[in-house]
Subunit: 327 residues, 2 copies
């Protein structure tokens, strides 16, 4: 039985630092990403890709605002849905270009709606910056006109902040599972999914942005998948970051990860959410979580199969049982 | 074994004549549409929904153009992909609100890429108007700047015209089939699907808009589905339209439909594509095609099961064999 990996990739992997976000740029980046996924497929893994959408939804939001003179702006959650279509199509086409990869019977993007709790404290305390930088005057006028919450972001200006609530259920889980079982590479929960809350009449969208690493974890736990791979800009998680004691971690038990998280080794703005997602996955029955760069995804995951030596990313694993059970 | 119907709904069913296209308007319209689909589910049909995206992709295009001062505009095919995400999420949420409907195990929107032939004559002769009306000067400047083809649309101004090539293959057919078999209501090929052509390196997007009725037919034939339902603004197909001899057709054989199409009864700008899609579906092995208003979808399709009397839309059926075969 093939094992399943949920691979979470940042929106920055599609629109890189310094790029404007043209289709051609994203397409070239998606081709690189697809080759990384292909290496996993060839090794026998089934793969679900969860992508971020930060730069893309930010660009869409600008275009929406610029266009309001003529047509109504869509709500933020609907822009999230748009990026699921936009990037889903783009990534599926890139995956098809490497479709000689063993075991891939096709690739398909599923528009994913993700339930959040309307009482999530994040709604009272929006923290996620989105969209363009504004002057103080612009920010105040947007706040008055549209009820936006705006905050100073570093010293580059003001930006809209939106709630980033915890994902509690992925509405399309059964459909995604059916597609994985059919041998499809599935692109799902893009941008963390479209955030929805349960009203009396049913689910409806809510303006928020779900952390895509948390959404990937929930999907990995719900399927369930065997591995959660959190792809980032660095090869490994670093301990004592920025000090003379800084060192790379190649493997740690979930209890160690919990300890380091509690002692503030992984701040919220950087590794925190990834380590937390990894811990949640393992604590909910997952086998292994990997945090690494695109280049080391294959070696890091395969290390667990073939026990290869050499450079890998950071693997976080459940503690081995102290007492072996008789066979 | 449950029968499958592919139901094609116009983008105008989501943003109605005179509406600006706000999310709230589309949501209310989607709820009405969902109740119509629910009536089919209760009668035991499996349903695939194909939606149009004319008004929505037009609005997105305006916003993209207005925003180019700050961020790059995405190509037209990618805007089509965005509307698959936007409307897919919206329709799925509406379907879930009627999920007491018998047999629905869930609803899911699949981002669908649809192959077209790069040699399709439509690329030499773009006919499909999209986006806002422009002045002659604006149109000429867009043509020079971006290579757009622009044409006069009635006497309201100039608009961009894009090719509307024939769909030749739906890349996600196997995935859609697997989901239908699992009991999901599937939203697919929205806006006719993202048009792609096969390059040496694989499929890539191409700026075009595929007719959603033709895409629905190809999907219905490929699955295969038992019925193709083309939902429109009128209850039935009309013969001798606008003359004293005008009359509603409630049932016709495929040969009659072909005859009327040839004699110019159904012009390209109105019923032509729907009747042609119906004919293609039946000529490729389909059982029945229905052209009707949202209100009569249920009665029109059920008529074939329970032989109910009363008002129905237009059913187009294969000719009954002249010589009955022995049982």
């Amino acid at each position: 039985m093939a094992k399943t990996a949920v691979v979470a990739l940042g929106g920055n992997a599609l629109t890189r630092e310094g790029q404007a976000g043209s289709y051609e740029e994203m397409e070239a980046n998606a081709n690189v990403m697809a080759r990384s996924v292909a290496s996993l497929l060839r090794a026998g893994w089934r793969v679900v890709v969860v992508h971020g959408n930060g730069p893309q939804v930010g660009n869409l939001a600008i275009q929406q605002e610029e266009g309001t003179r003529l047509v109504p702006a869509q709500p933020l959650f609907s822009l999230g849905a748009m990026t699921e279509g936009q990037l889903g199509s783009l990534i599926v086409l890139a995956l098809r270009r490497v479709s000689d990869a063993g075991g891939m019977r096709g690739a398909v993007a599923v528009v994913t709606n993700v339930a959040v709790n309307p009482d999530d404290p994040a709604f009272e305390n929006p923290t996620k910056f989105i969209g363009p930088f504004l002057t103080k005057e612009e920010a105040e006028s947007m706040a008055a006109e549209r009820g936006w919450v705006v905050r100073k972001d570093s010293n580059r200006g003001y930006r809209r902040v939106v709630p980033s609530p915890e994902p509690v259920a992925i509405l399309e889980t059964a459909a995604i599972r059916a597609l994985v079982e059919q041998g499809q590479v599935v692109v799902a929960a893009g941008g963390g999914g479209v955030p929805v809350v349960r009203y009396k009449s049913g689910y409806g969208g809510v303006d928020a942005v779900i952390d895509k690493d948390y959404a990937a974890q929930l999907l990995a736990t719900s399927l369930p998948a065997d591995a959660l791979v959190l792809v980032t800009g660095v090869d490994t998680v670093l301990l004592h970051y920025g000090t003379p004691q800084q060192k790379a971690i190649h493997e740690m038990a979930v209890t160690q990860a919990e300890h380091y998280l509690e002692t503030g080794e992984f701040p919220d703005g950087s590794m925190g959410p990834k380590v937390r997602a990894a811990i949640r996955f393992l604590r909910s029955g997952g086998e292994q979580a990997v945090i690494t760069s695109p280049e080391l995804v294959y070696a890091s995951l395969q290390g667990t199969i073939s026990e290869l030596e050499g450079v890998t990313g950071t693997r976080i694993v459940r503690v081995k049982p102290l007492i072996a059970t008789a066979p």
